[in-house]
Point group: C7
Chain length 95, copies 7
């Protein structure tokens, strides 16, 4: 993966929603609702007003629920990714 | 429960409003009004500007009054849940 | 009373405005204007950015002037209550 | 006076504008412009983010210029008062 | 002068713009543009979140350029004054 | 120059854009785009919430790129100047 | 390069999108989506409320993904550049 996010940004690979449904998680269609993705790259953390870096909560490899409207699409080597703030990720999906 | 909320987010199971009414609490219909739910998962707490984690007030198992518009729906293993910020929970209902 | 407010929230019982009028306080009709209530439950206080809890100013049993639009209605055991932020209470009415 | 304001709120008795005019201060009609009042009750001061109380600048008995739109009307024992934030008082009128 | 401004407020006497033009400073007509005035009274300074008073930059007697829309008119003993925040004063005019 | 800016304000002399073009810098027409000017006066710096003065980055004599909409026009001794916040200056043009 | 950005601003040279596509990164057309550029100049960093300079994350020579709407165009010696905040750069593209 050759995209290194800055600040508190995260790169996600959107998950195949049908697969997710089989695994027991169903998600509504509407854009404002959380959808699922896998974390593929994580920024170093946002800097506070005094320059302190606030550590990230998510890790590469985790499956997450995120708010789609906060993410932008990029395409790297033929694969679609999403990039956005960690603040728009609402939960980690434990297996 | 396999959803681990991030930051100050909380996962709620909406309560059967009819049951609640029998127990003595009646709630208005309108969406902006508080409704009732049971806490099923709690995030680690929001990080302040200096990275300090602010502890959560609610605990798993508590029945709460919350503002519905601040919560998003997810469906896990056939059951509906709501996910949102602790700041949109207004009170704990003691039994 | 089985509602325990969170953060800086307060539960009020709206006061009989006619009674209030007899006691010498008259309040305008308009919704944006302060109205009167009795404090029946008080939250622990809001947490600042560093997690410090800021103590509440009002106490259970006090009669208060509050801004109605900042409060939501709930009904507990057949009685109507209002729940909202302490910041929307403007004054304590001393007897 | 039986209204004790909370936080940085102040209770004012609106001054007879004709009297003020005789004393040499004339004020425009428009609602957004400052008008005159006498301070009859003062809150303890607003709490900062760390809980520190910030002392009030005005005192009971002072005549003040204030922005009317920031104040709400209440009527106590047949007399009209105004209640609002100290931040909407722009000046003290020295005699 | 019997108006004592609060916080970071300043009382100005608007300057005769024709005089100013003769002295070499011409100012556009539009309301949003800076205009000239003389400082006649200065507040003690705004209080920060921890109660610290932030000292004022302007002094009584200085001629200043200010943004008119941020100021309210008052009339004291037949003379028009303007009252507003120091933050809407953009520069001191040195002689 | 007899204008002493307050806080983080800066007085600029707009540069002859044709001259700039000859020197190799061409700028778009639209008002929201940066344009060029020379710094003729610099304020002492903005005060933070605790009263600390934050030093200015620009110096008198520097040529700068700035966002025109953030600046107000004044005319001193027949010459047009612009006054605005340092935050609306985006870059220094080195020679 | 004779443009020295102030604060947390960065000067970028937009990258030839066709070239980028050949290298495996495809980007959507819409203006709000991230696009690619090379960092040609970097400001000293933004100053926090207490004057502390917060160090920049990007370096001259890095290829970056950035949000185009946050950047303004300038033309230096016949070449087009973009200037904007580091906060609108979302990721570094590693080679």
């Amino acid at each position: 993966m050759n995209i290194q996010p800055l600040s508190n940004r995260v790169v996600l690979k959107p998950l195949d929603e049908e697969k997710m449904t089989q695994s027991g998680i169903v998600l509504p269609d509407r854009d404002e609702k959380p959808t699922t993705g896998e974390v593929v790259a994580v920024g170093p953390g946002k800097k506070g007003d005094d320059g302190t870096v606030i550590p990230m909560e998510v890790q590469v490899g985790q499956k997450v629920l995120f708010k789609k409207y906060g993410f932008d699409e990029v395409e790297v080597e033929g694969e679609k990714y999403l990039i956005g703030d960690e603040g728009d990720i609402v939960a980690v999906l434990d297996k």
